[in-house]
């Protein structure tokens, strides 16, 4: 096979990405191996598995995975494939069980993944070594403050090492939450005919499209729709002007974050944000005490999009966790979980859940706009000539802004710094020869040393 030239596919100096990366099945196969078989991937949240025997199903790349809390309370993850012939041993999306039984011949596994039952075993096998035939475990499963991740690579860096500096930002979501973070135990799921990378970089970094692509929705929801303000997230009505001092995009070694810095505009798109804003201010002194002024005042409550490479977005404000599961080069599934603070008043939680449904659920007022162009970008690359074109993400290149948190900050929400960071990380992962090389080297300067709170 001809060696793929990733420097040509993603040209960081010129901020160009060849469009074949959204279409080429050879590149997609490499992604499954280089990225989804090596990176730490989000599995779910511990609040989804409170009891022994509770399980959920998810995907790691295209691998079907069961995540289950065993009798010893330990959460494990297994490939959803019978070790006899490979049929799925679980067809439910979640629930509570004592065992997973294959519907083909009845092999049965306990919640610790051990082969527990083989029909007619004594009559048909001589000394079947059951220990050899337990469910195949996901090599590593770790939790970061309740957020569960799995990794297929035995020799990968630890989850904390993998997250690196982005953990400082994730803490704003996990540590601020009164009583801990809580997710709705079931995600919205939608299948879209597009390449998986496009919705990821759209969510983590594309502030430019907000007022234009979503113009219809923006004029009927939240601050603009209700006349509370003449701008939202620093962008004026009708997309005529933008306040670039109102936000930053920060690129770290592996991951990215975009945030509005004002401590409250995360809720600008809510029709009735009052209960959430009241909760923020009530909880804020606690957050400042715990995380310091910078995070407590400027990040908590801001619209903040945390991009954990490759396919997880934690979005504070709109308040959902989103995973993009690849389903072939031209298809992906979006999973959206609402998230809230466990000890928020029930009616405040309700405001958040309603908002997630109304904006980015499968019938969300903003959701459908994105699916349309993500599909078109992918499918136009079917054309040989179009596929030779390169996308351009040069906005805000070279613009820096002082920032006391980790990572390199670039000014403004309308900036393509995070998207460039994503494709740089994509290239690094595709060129990596082992799981450690996936993590980027420390950014220039002493940013890693800068820690607040």
């Amino acid at each position: 096979m001809k060696k793929i030239n990733y420097q040509e596919l993603v040209d960081s100096e010129q901020a160009l990405q060849k469009r074949s990366i959204f279409w080429d099945p050879v590149i997609y196969e490499e992604e499954l191996k280089q990225i989804f078989n090596r990176c730490w991937l989000f599995l779910g949240h511990e609040s989804q598995l409170p009891q022994t025997g509770d399980f959920i199903r998810t995907y790691m790349g295209e691998d079907d995975v069961i995540v289950v809390r065993g009798k010893d309370k330990v959460i494990r993850a297994f490939l959803n494939a019978c070790t006899h012939r490979g049929n799925k041993v679980c067809q439910a999306e979640g629930g509570n069980t004592r065992s997973f039984t294959c519907s083909y011949h009845g092999w049965s596994y306990n919640t610790e993944g051990e082969l527990a039952g083989v029909p007619l075993e004594k009559e048909i096998y001589d000394n079947l070594d059951r220990e050899r035939f337990g469910l195949v475990p996901v090599a590593r499963v770790e939790s970061y403050k309740g957020l569960l991740f799995g990794c297929f690579s035995e020799d990968a860096p630890s989850l904390v090492e993998y997250l690196g500096d982005i953990a400082w930002y994730i803490d704003v979501v996990t540590d601020s939450a009164k009583g801990g973070l809580e997710v709705i135990g079931t995600p919205y799921r939608t299948e879209i005919p597009g390449n998986w990378k496009l919705p990821v970089e759209n969510a983590i970094g594309d502030g430019y499209h907000v007022a234009w692509a979503h113009a219809g929705a923006m004029s009927v929801v939240g601050a603009l729709g209700h006349g509370r303000s003449d701008n939202v997230l620093g962008i004026s009505a009708n997309n005529t002007n933008v306040d670039q001092s109102a936000a930053i995009e920060v690129v770290m070694n592996t991951h990215t974050i975009l945030t509005t810095l004002d401590g409250q505009s995360g809720y600008a798109l809510y029709d009735h944000p009052e209960p959430v804003l009241a909760h923020l201010e009530e909880n804020r002194p606690r957050v400042i005490e715990k995380l310091g002024e910078l995070r407590g005042k400027q990040l908590y409550g801001s619209e903040t999009h945390i991009g954990v490479f490759p396919n997880l977005q934690i979005i504070q404000g709109l308040n959902f966790i989103r995973i993009i599961h690849p389903k072939g080069p031209g298809k992906f599934e979006v999973w959206t979980y609402g998230m809230c603070e466990r000890e928020m008043p029930e009616e405040t939680k309700e405001v958040i859940h309603n908002h997630v449904r109304q904006t980015f659920g499968p019938a969300g007022l903003l959701e459908g706009d994105d699916g349309d162009f993500v599909e078109a970008i992918t499918h136009s690359a079917a054309g040989y000539a179009t596929r030779q074109m390169k996308g351009f993400l040069g906005m805000g290149m070279g613009r820096k802004v002082p920032w006391d948190g980790p990572g390199e900050a670039s000014p403004g929400l309308v900036n393509e710094a995070c998207q460039r960071g994503f494709y740089d990380q994509w290239r690094r992962s595709m060129e990596a020869t082992n799981a450690h090389e996936i993590i980027g080297q420390t950014a220039p300067g002493v940013l890693r040393e800068i820690r607040h709170g």
């Binding site: 989804q48 979640g94 449904r357």
Partner: protein
């Protein structure tokens, strides 16, 4: 109210609705479907009561023994709107700024298997129907959503109005870029 379904198969609704009333309900649902097909959202909103509740639950894929909130899995709604929420969806369509609907999306709704029952509330009918919503857009972006609905229709001085609608889709994973249409 007496159980309107026989305990043994086949279940047949013991309707107490007059033939004339039932026919009016059939005509109402056909009219409503056409109003939506024609993107006349203001007219459609006029067919709803002020206190309407419009819901689309997600059909969770759970084992039969795990049904009905016996686990940590919570029920989830794709839409759970009152009149203000539905008005907001319609208002978005009316902005002229929804690029995905220009060129215009083509809708066709087929409503069938209509069953009408009286309820304990005078002038309210429980109406079940099956639907197929066919949507065509752009060159060949074609989506079909089959499902069934459970409505409460109320007879008001202005005529029949929808007081409650629950839309049951059969898809767990929505195979569509967006359900920005009314069922």
């Amino acid at each position: 109210m007496a159980n309107t379904e026989l305990k043994t198969a086949p279940a047949i609704a013991a309707t107490k609705v007059s033939f004339e009333q039932e026919w009016a309900i059939h005509q109402f649902l056909s009219l409503e479907a056409r109003v939506l097909d024609e993107e006349r959202y203001t007219d459609w909103l006029a067919l709803l009561t002020e206190d309407i509740r419009y819901q689309i639950p997600v059909p969770l894929t759970t084992y039969r023994r795990n049904r009905a909130s016996t686990t940590a899995l919570k029920p989830l709604f794709i839409i759970d709107d009152g009149l203000p929420g539905l008005k907001q969806r319609a208002a978005r369509e009316a902005t002229g700024l929804v690029w995905l609907n220009d060129p215009a999306t083509r809708h066709l709704r087929i409503i069938n298997n209509i069953e009408v029952e009286v309820t304990e509330v005078p002038d309210e009918f429980l109406v079940r129907s099956k639907f197929l919503l066919y949507r065509g857009r752009r060159e060949k972006d074609i989506v079909n959503h089959p499902g069934w609905r459970e409505d409460i229709l109320r007879l008001t001085p202005e005529g029949l109005r929808i007081a409650k609608r629950t839309v049951h889709l059969l898809e767990r994973v929505i195979i569509d870029k967006n359900l920005n249409m009314f069922f």
